[in-house]
């Protein structure tokens, strides 16, 4: 049988009032008279909550000697059974410092705001069964802390979903971090838990200058455990400066991301100076092959990796050896830091060839260099926009190693690019925002056109060009030339079908304007043919650009079906379209048949019959005239002879 608090008031309260004196002692036993019953429950917030107190466990808890009313102070001197609900237990009555800290913390402030998700003491520590905090049984023992905090701070929890928490996958990341691994997998209870960094009660946002995880305080927080860290961070942190100007120097979390701190690259005890003892010698050569092992310190100091330690790239050193580098077995793996880029590279043509140990495949250093690696924005960098064509040309110029194995239709790409609008913009006008090789082909995900993931695959070309030519892409995407709108079996054109890939010219040049008609005619065969039978087409065919071309009427990128009200040739717009060249054009004028043919009696009977009428007239006249002339010829010849030799003349007369 379940008794519910909700039904108590109906018949119990009068009884309580009558027998108030019955409960006078208020010993714990008195309370347990009711609260030992395992079936004693109540409903809070729609949930059934047990009100049972395990007497044994309570006696074993840190509060075992404390009477119930010591905490449930509002029952002091009250008759039992007591009324409901009880006031919340105020732990701060005894734990004054912790209470103050908690009240000032993020959690305490949330409680003050009435945030129902904010944790109270009992949410972390429990209630009647609180074990000694340093004991293994404690709810906040180090190995339990991640789960205590994780109850709220894990993916999918209401807190994580409904409150602004800047970090994600906190519990997951922590459990895989060096701290989490030590604590949870290796049972190292001195490993940092949530509270080691965030503190237990003074939890504050990192933006708060008092917070233990504030940028200024983070070093102090970390050094509570990593007290000798300065000694091994010689190059990066430089001792005292770190403490004095913590805002200038990197904070721990800049390298060791919060929750993800892992022991990966940071081989301890190595400083660049140790490496340079040998590698600063210009004559240092490898024992095998004799390649130079000299590292130009000056070059390195001006590179984008100037602040990275040697051992960060050349991983695997052992500081305890005389030659720490003798334990290095693997080549530099750039993807250790540049993970996403490395993934892209490996999926690219360059990367797949590299994986096959193809001698022609370019690795990271072939494009980026080694110790002198520069940012893309540095004009001295080989990947600075104006240097990219030359960089790619090292392999892709006709006759070079990449070009000789290429079997596609694009040739002389470097020369053609240099003469194209992009090439001229980049190399002659110095416009560094102009498209270079990598803007279209991407830097690291280079794939052949046929690959559907390639940036230059027909499916992706509009988006690739649209990265710069956004307005054009928007127009194009609303045109009949996208599959969504133009329903056809034929392959629809994309940017390079009209503009070419590497020979892109200005669209206002005569040569381009004339060739573009041929491009339309490739698919629109019939309509192009009939266009050339009208005045516009004939003049265009003579090589002039001033008469209307396909795009003058239909639009260039925003070609829409004639029935579309937004089409340049819709009923609403056609007159205005004609008026671009013919200012006096009217609706009747727009009735001119720009694609007329006189070979179709069904579609254009007027033209058909006019043409054949005229042809009949021509043929008739020429036949009559021709026959007349031919019949005449023998007589005329006779007359000529007669005039030359009067004696033989037929019609000779006296002169």
């Amino acid at each position: 049988m379940t008794r519910r608090w909700t039904i108590w008031p109906r018949f119990l309260l009068p009884a309580l009032a009558l027998g108030a004196a019955a409960a006078s002692g208020q010993e714990n036993a008195d309370c347990l008279a009711c609260h030992a019953d395992r079936s004693l429950t109540t409903t809070r917030g729609g949930k059934t909550v047990s009100l049972c107190v395990d007497a044994k466990k309570f006696a074993a808890s840190v509060h075992g000697a404390v009477p119930c009313v010591g905490c449930h102070a509002d029952l002091q001197g009250k008759d039992l059974p007591h009324g409901v609900p009880l006031a919340p237990v105020d732990c701060a009555a005894c734990h004054e410092r912790e209470g103050k800290e908690h009240a000032a913390s993020l959690h305490g402030q949330a409680i003050a705001r009435g945030d129902r998700l904010a944790p109270r003491c009992v949410d972390c520590h429990g209630n009647h069964e609180i074990a000694p905090v340093h004991g293994a049984a404690s709810a906040v023992a180090p190995q339990r802390v991640p789960w205590v905090c994780g109850k709220c701070h894990q993916e999918g929890s209401p807190v994580q979903r409904q409150r602004v928490i800047h970090e994600d996958h906190i519990l997951e990341n922590y459990s895989e971090s060096i701290h989490g691994e030590a604590l949870l997998k290796k049972g190292l209870t001195v490993a940092a838990t949530c509270v080691s960094c965030h503190t237990a009660h003074t939890i504050l946002p990192h933006t708060d200058p008092r917070s233990s995880i504030n940028r200024k305080n983070i070093a102090r927080t970390c050094t509570t455990c990593h007290s000798q860290i300065e000694a091994v961070h010689r190059k990066v942190i430089r001792g005292e400066l770190w403490e004095k100007e913590a805002n200038v120097l990197p904070a721990c979390v800049d390298c060791h991301q919060p929750h993800k701190a892992r022991k990966v690259y940071y081989d301890q005890g190595m400083a660049d100076a140790d490496c340079m003892k040998c590698h600063g010698n210009p004559n240092l050569r490898a024992s095998h092959g004799g390649r130079s092992l000299f590292v130009n310190a000056d070059e390195l100091a001006h590179s984008t990796h100037a602040h990275s330690a040697c051992s960060q790239c050349h991983s695997g050193v052992n500081a305890s050896r005389v030659r720490p580098c003798e334990t290095i077995t693997a080549k530099v793996e750039c993807s250790a830091c540049h993970a996403e880029t490395g993934r892209q590279y490996l999926a690219s043509t360059h990367g797949t060839l590299f994986a096959k140990h193809d001698p022609n495949a370019p690795g990271c250093t072939d494009c980026h260099g080694t110790h002198g690696v520069q940012r893309r924005k540095d004009p001295g960098s080989p990947i600075f926009p104006t240097n990219i064509p030359d960089l790619c040309a090292r392999c892709h110029r006709e006759g070079n190693k990449a070009a000789v194995r290429y079997t596609g239709s694009e040739h002389d790409i470097i020369e053609r690019y240099q003469e194209s609008i992009h090439g001229k913009g980049l190399l002659r006008s110095g416009l560094t925002v102009t498209a270079t090789c990598t803007d279209c082909h991407t830097a690291h995900s280079i794939l052949p056109m046929a690959d559907s993931a390639s940036s230059v695959n027909p499916r992706n070309v509009p988006a690739t060009c649209g990265r710069c030519h956004l307005g054009i892409e928007e127009m194009f995407n609303a045109s009949v030339h996208v599959t969504r709108i133009g329903k056809t079996d034929k392959r629809l054109p994309v940017c390079n079908d009209c503009h070419t890939a590497h020979t892109i010219r200005r669209a206002d040049t005569e040569g381009f304007r004339l060739t573009i008609m041929g491009q339309c005619g490739k698919c629109h065969e019939e309509i192009a043919k009939t266009y050339f039978e009208t005045y516009h087409g004939k003049v265009s065919q003579l090589g002039y650009t001033k008469t209307a071309k396909c795009y003058d009427c239909h639009g260039a990128h925003d070609i829409r079906a004639i029935g579309d009200p937004k089409s340049h040739l819709s009923r609403e717009n056609v007159v205005a379209t004609c008026q671009k060249c013919h200012p006096g054009a009217t609706r009747r004028f727009a009735g001119y048949l720009t694609h007329a043919t006189h070979h179709d009696p069904q579609k254009y009977p007027f033209l058909f019959f006019t043409f054949w009428g005229m042809t009949g007239l021509l043929v008739g006249t020429f036949v009559v005239g021709g026959v007349h002339t031919l019949l005449w010829l023998p007589r005329a010849l006779q007359m000529r002879r007669a005039r030359k030799h009067p004696a033989a003349g037929v019609e000779e007369e006296e002169s």
């Binding site: 004939k538 003579l542 009217t586 007239l617 021509l618 000529r640 037929v650 019609e651 007369e653």
Partner: protein, 293 residues
């Protein structure tokens, strides 16, 4: 083609060199008009054909030589204006001569020298056919033979048809205020095919009938000089000669010939016109037979 010719004699022949004097067939106005017409017609043909046969490489080259399609267009329109001006001047000349020489239209249009087709033309045509097949003598043609009259009216027809459609093509925006747009397409076909007819006819049939037929070969320059030897006149137009000889008025129509330098210049011009005409014919045949699409 021939134009109605006046008989306005130039200066009455002087006493000197009687035997050299020639019959004056064409008035100065008519000779000038014919020369202007040749220039205008050639210009129209060249500029027009570049468009009609724009699909040949020749057309592109020619269009460049003519200064581009816009310049060619101006040339075409100016030449067309000249052609219409010739037409107007000629009509004006007819009115003037009706008043001065004939008095009434009836006298002018029913006389022996009329340009209108007559029964005699019908008879001459039948007789010509017989002559061609060796069944009779050469007909005694009058001042204007039936084929000359045909050429003459062909120009009237041509100017009306090509001129009117040309105006539609020149001012399409104006004409479509009244007419539907497809009329421009129809006008294009008529204009272009009628022009082809005119060019083809002039550069083959007219060239042969007037210049290339063996007794005139290589060209008859009477339309430039206005003069023809009396012997040739008597042989060519016997009916006209007879009337003039009978009335004793032949003497009034005899004039001094031009000096050789003038004749040479005229022949040079004639060669130019003939050469250009043939070149156009060859181009047309090439375009229609070999390059047609």
């Amino acid at each position: 083609m021939s134009l109605e010719s006046g008989r306005a004699p130039e200066r009455p022949p002087a006493a000197a060199a009687r035997d050299d004097r020639q019959y004056l067939r064409f008035s100065r106005l008519n000779r000038v008009l014919h020369v202007v017409m040749i220039v205008s017609f050639m210009s129209l043909a060249l500029t027009g054909m570049t468009l009609k046969f724009s699909y040949t490489s020749w057309a592109s080259i020619l269009s460049r030589i003519l200064g581009g399609f816009e310049t060619a267009g101006y040339i075409h329109r100016m030449a067309a204006v000249s052609m219409v001006a010739i037409f107007v001047l000629h009509i004006n000349d007819l009115f003037r001569r009706r008043k001065k020489e004939f008095g009434t239209w009836k006298a002018m249009l029913t006389g022996p020298d009329t340009m209108l087709p007559t029964k005699k033309d019908l008879r001459d045509f039948a007789a010509s056919m017989k002559w061609f097949v060796g069944k009779g003598p050469r007909p005694r043609y009058g001042r204007w033979t039936y084929w000359e009259k045909f050429d003459y009216f062909a120009v009237f027809w041509g100017i009306c048809v090509i001129g009117s459609t040309g105006m539609i093509l020149w001012f399409p925006e104006f004409f479509t205020l009244l007419l539907p747009g497809w009329v421009i397409n129809v006008a294009t076909i008529i204009h272009s095919d009628e022009a082809l007819l005119a060019v083809g006819f002039i550069f083959t049939v007219h060239f042969f009938n007037t210049h290339l037929r063996p007794e005139k070969f290589p060209m008859d320059i009477v339309v430039f000089t206005g003069r023809m030897p009396v012997d040739e006149f008597r042989e060519d137009k016997p009916a006209e000669y007879d009337i003039l000889a009978a009335s004793g008025k032949l003497e009034e129509h005899l004039v001094e010939p031009y000096p050789p330098i003038v004749i040479r210049s005229i022949r040079a011009f004639g060669w130019g016109a003939l050469g250009l005409g043939f070149a156009i014919v060859v181009w047309i045949i090439y375009a229609m037979v070999f390059a047609y699409r």
